[in-house]
């Protein structure tokens, strides 16, 4: 854990510019990263999988996969990698960064899109731009798997119903011959409007290790 000190401030500055985190936050996250990776340079799926508090999360798989998904790295690549370095780790984390009051409307809009894109990618496993029914069912099944009393079939029915909703809201006049191929990103955006994702998709990243609850944004 102490190894983080070997990194130079300059290196962090670079990351800070890229991800928007403050230096302190990066410092903190780096400590966490090394803790997770046992002081290795990279992190792999097992490392994340073994986080104890994650054990109860029904969509653990999707989340972990998101970390290794190249689409979330702000590069124009697709596919997933076996292990990621700290920079990629930060990149993924940066999707959950709260805005400060200084961010402009356009920036906010961009952030919102990015956040949605992250969620969308979590569902769209084959990166074809749509969440197909199969993909969606998979997520819903996982999601409901922890509730125990809902069988796979019920989960499937719920996924189907949800999908139909999207279909009927977004393509209100479908020809009988049409099929709803899947949720596109635009539709995804549309349906999640009501959730006010942009005001909620935040994690408090601490500046300092002690929970003094400062989150690095300017005061009003």
């Amino acid at each position: 854990m102490g190894a983080s000190q070997t990194r130079t401030e300059h290196k962090y500055q670079d990351l800070a510019d890229k991800t928007g985190f403050s230096l302190e936050q990066i410092e903190n996250l780096h400590k966490r990263f090394q803790q997770l990776s046992n002081n290795e340079e990279t992190i792999n799926r097992e490392h994340l999988d073994s986080i104890p508090s994650l054990a109860n999360n029904p969509i653990r798989k999707q989340i972990i996969e998101a970390f290794f998904d190249k689409r979330n790295q702000h590069q124009d690549e697709v596919g997933s990698c076996e292990e990621i370095g700290f920079e990629q780790f930060l990149m993924v984390m940066s999707h959950f960064r709260p805005p400060s009051l200084k961010t402009t409307e356009e920036e906010k809009e961009a952030m919102r899109k990015e956040k949605l894109r992250f969620l969308f990618n979590m569902h769209d496993t084959d990166n074809d731009g749509t969440i197909t029914l199969v993909e969606y069912r998979k997520v819903v099944e996982e999601l409901l798997s922890k509730s125990g009393d809902i069988g796979q079939e019920a989960a499937k029915a719920i996924a189907d119903a949800a999908m139909l909703e999207v279909a009927s809201t977004n393509v209100p006049h479908m020809d009988p011959d049409d099929f709803y191929e899947g949720i596109t990103f635009e539709h995804f955006e549309q349906i999640l409007k009501g959730l006010e994702m942009e005001t909620r998709m935040y994690i408090r990243f601490l500046d300092v290790e002690t929970p003094t609850l400062r989150c690095g944004k300017s005061t009003s």
Partner: protein, 856 residues
Amino acid sequence: MQRCGYVHLWLLGSVLLICLISGVTSVKGDVALLHQESHLKPLSEFKSNLNQTEQGNGSRVITGISIVTFKWNHVKTPYLVALWILVAVLAKLVIESFPSVTNVIPESALLICFGWILGGIIWAADLQQTFSLTPTVFFYFLLPQIILDAGYSMPNKLFFTNLGGILLYAILGTVWCAATLGLSLWGCQAGGAMGALDIGLLQYLLFGSLIAAVDPVAVLAVFEQVHVNEVLFIMVFGESLLNDGVTVVLFNVFDAFVKLGGPRINAVEIIKGIISFFVVAFGGSLVGLAFGLLVSLLSKYTKNIQIIEPGFIFVLGYLSYLTADMLSLSAILSVTFCGVSCQKYLNSNMAESSVNTVRYVMKVFANGSETIIFVFLGISAIDKTIWVWNTGFVLLTLFFTLVYRFIGTFIQTWWLNQYRLVPIAFIDQLIMSYGGLRGAVAYGLATMLDDQRIKEKKLMIGTTLIVVYFTVILQGVTMKPFVTWLKVKRAAVAEVTLIEKVQNKVFEHSLVAIEDISGQIGDNYLRGKWKIFEEKWMSRFLLTSEARKKQDYIFNVFHQLNLKDAVDYVDEGERRGSLEFVRNESAFINFKKKLGDEFSEVLPDIMAAASDDPDAMRRDPVSSVSLQMHEKTMQGTRETEDIDAHHLLQQHLYKGRKQHLHRYSRNHLDINTDDNEVQEIFQRTMRNRLESFKSAKMGLAPAKTITKHTKKDQQQKMPNGKSTDTSKNYYANNEGFELSEGDNASGSEASGGSFPFRVNYKAGAGIENPTFMPDPDPMAPMQIPPWQAEDEPDGSTVSPSQRAQVRLPWTPTNLRRLAPLRISTQSTDSFAQADTPASQEKDKKWPPPPPPPSDK
């Protein structure tokens, strides 16, 4: 549930309508009359006294028996109470029948005005104020149900998410308002702004504390009409709810100080006061929690006394109020938390009808007493004896309450925004400050002042009333334009959608996961942990096993939405005179065309999609025309369905259905208490309708002759997708020759592994309507009804082909989720299963459908 809701609404509506028709023209007169009657009370009382004495004397002397006697005194109190309730409710009725007025002026303000008028009439009749709101009536009979309702219908998640902020405003904000107002008034008095008043610093602080109470009744009344965004709403509402409790506590502390007298207050007493403040507040909350858990626990065991099940929450809620009051803890906080803590468990434990009952009765009580409170607030003002005017005092109080509310809110929000991830916007702060309406709690506390020690009690009451009027009427009226003008973010009035709920859950889990991974302990982390704890422990202790099953929120939403769609469906159908509208959509014919065109490619998709419709036919052995094709995809589910169907039939049809005995029973509201049966009847009715139209739409050939039921060759289908045999069946259909037995047989074959007994059952299936095969034996292992057999080994059934699952069918767009209900006939989830059998019975009820339209 929705259905019930509609029924209730309808009932309510019709009652109102009747009242309206019969009364609206004369309501005003009525009201006035009622009033006359009630203010004539002293007079009539007097008379009746006379009567009674006369009678008393008479009975001694006179030998005759009077046939009718007038005994006003016997019924006086309850009669007056009932009359008052009637008057208040009628007033509300009249007011609400002018929506254009209530759009501009909030109802609470109108009710107060109405109170003034009534008060005027009473005054004119009696020349004194006979009626006024006494603290006892207010605190013990009017307030508890309002607070209970508020707590019970509190959006828990929102509340706890913003609890930090709410507590800050409720505690610090109240103390701030009380202290600053008291001190400022005292300062002003010392500066000579108000003339000579006999009020000391402590009394001022006491007054400040009572006037600091932002009133949930008033706030709710106004904010419910404005629809601001949810964070703002919960902030103001949560604050007002909690700060009532805080105010009462604060009031009591200062009251104790006043009693103690200035000179004897030292540091120890002050510290004691502060400690008592916290003890009272948190103790009250704890009492409430305890009662809430008690109610939840009780509701676990009320299965057999469903009829009084809804009563528990009211009795125990009230008891929690009284208990806390008895222990001199905060009664308001107690009943708030009682409601907050029990709502979830109660809602899942109780039967749906009870849940509805609780909800409605709660609203009736709360709304009724709210109305009465406002009317009385108006009436109380028309009383010369309470008015002692001191312009300086009144104006300064008004000014300071307003100004300090703003200052306090801004300071606290600024502080809060340091820590909030999503800061509270400036405009929201403005509205929050402006929404600091004072109400009946302040007035109730003011009337509780001890006029021995506080010489200017009357002035204080009068001033409180002025503040109440000012805030409720003026601020209430201006609130809406203000909100519009400032472009405050409004609440999105959106329909609940399943996808949103699902996404929301995904989203929440992602947040928790990210926090876990990043090693941050934040709100999400805590919430996640609490959920796990709750699922593990709380649910186990407080929920019945069935309720635990239904616990999942998404599943509930799914259920509700399905019910709603079903109801909509029927409504829509009835509106059009029949359910035929589905027929016009011609979806099916097109499906079939598509089948023809892109046979091998798309077929499985369609099959899965259209599964339910063909299903219906296929199950109908008589008209087994066209639908074998989807057998591939459907076989797995079908067999389970068939088992269930058989079961249901066994249970409900082989034995005669229970007769509905129409009898009155105090214990049983619902004559037919067999859940399964009720459910089945409902669902079967629904199904019947749906399926029959579908079949009509599909155009079944009437009674193609049957049999050849063991086409074993057809069973060699490959379980995935586009098998050759699907196509074969398809063509076979078109020739109208091949029959559905093929798939019946195949279904049984496929299932053979997991349900050996099914083979027997199926063997006869082709010959006659399988549902009527008197072959109960093989079913023996299946005695668990489908809705209970959650863990049906559905995994063992042949899964539909991959492709088949990929797409969804086109559905009539006016039924957004009903289609999923139909799709879910494939599933083994409880309701889907319960309804599938219904369709199988349709051949009994419906004539054979018309011949098929030529689909080729």
